[in-house]
């Protein structure tokens, strides 16, 4: 069964995103919300790890949380899809189950 993994912590502060990416399987999705949206940026010390995950998992980021933090779309890694809260709901419905990396 496919899993939508949600991560809400900055990759620079906590190990949640790193641990999450180490436990995904092909066909899973990873949605970055709250302070985890920093994980979707290019040119940071955590970008390579997220970039590497793109070939097997779907990467999503919550637009409202990006905007709150002043992050424009042109700073995101290629291939990351921006969704709103409605899109968040659609993702939860699309994947078979949901796992929060708290």
């Amino acid at each position: 069964m496919s899993i939508l993994h949600t991560v809400n912590k900055s990759p620079f502060e906590k190990n949640a995103l790193s641990s999450c990416l180490g436990h995904t399987k092909s066909g899973d999705g990873v949605l970055l919300i709250e302070d985890a949206v920093y994980g979707a940026l290019k040119g940071t010390k955590s970008s390579d790890q997220v970039e590497a995950a793109k070939s097997t998992v779907g990467l999503y980021v919550l637009g409202p949380d990006l905007a709150a933090r002043g992050l424009a779309a042109d700073r995101l890694l290629d291939g990351v899809t921006v969704v709103d809260y409605g899109g968040f709901v659609d993702l939860v419905a699309k994947y078979d189950t949901t796992q929060a990396w708290l």
Binding site: M1, I3, G22, K25, T97, A100, L102
Partner: protein, 142 residues
């Protein structure tokens, strides 16, 4: 329960994921409280211990000097609640300099095998744990 709910007569597979060390925060303790209550619902229950969650199972916890209740004996009682699958991630142990010997003995009596006492803790690789996660209906994280 309706079929549409994915529930019904057949049970769901519940996985409780423990990623946090004990005592520093209450998540480990309150996770255990969910597991104990959940045991009454006769679902297919597994626990995963990854990252700092592996520290929850450390032997020899003694909390008198911090004035906090030592809840570690409860893990050893899980078998009585028919919670018998405690998956501990090998990579998480390795990174923390731990081996299986550093963890408590947690066992259960196997009713399908003449009530033989068997270990509940199963050390698995990160990749095996990802497979276990992928096989669940409900994943609760703490």
């Amino acid at each position: 329960m309706s079929e549409a709910a994915g529930g019904g007569a057949t049970s769901k597979k519940f996985l409780y994921v423990n990623r946090k060390a004990p005592y520093g925060t209450i998540y480990a303790l309150e996770s255990l409280e969910v597991v104990l209550i959940g045991a009454a619902f006769e679902q297919d229950v597994s626990l995963a211990f990854i990252d700092d969650g592996v520290f929850q199972l450390s032997k020899g916890q003694s909390t008198d000097a911090i004035g906090v209740k030592n809840f570690s004996p409860t893990y050893r009682a899980l078998g009585d609640y028919e919670v018998t699958k405690l998956y501990v991630e090998k990579e998480s142990l390795d990174e923390r300099g731990l081996t299986l010997d550093d963890l408590m003995d947690v066992t259960y009596e196997d009713e399908d095998d003449d009530y033989e006492e068997k270990p509940s803790i199963r050390v698995v690789s990160r990749s095996e744990l990802a497979d276990i996660m992928a096989g669940q209906d409900v994943i609760l994280s703490f």
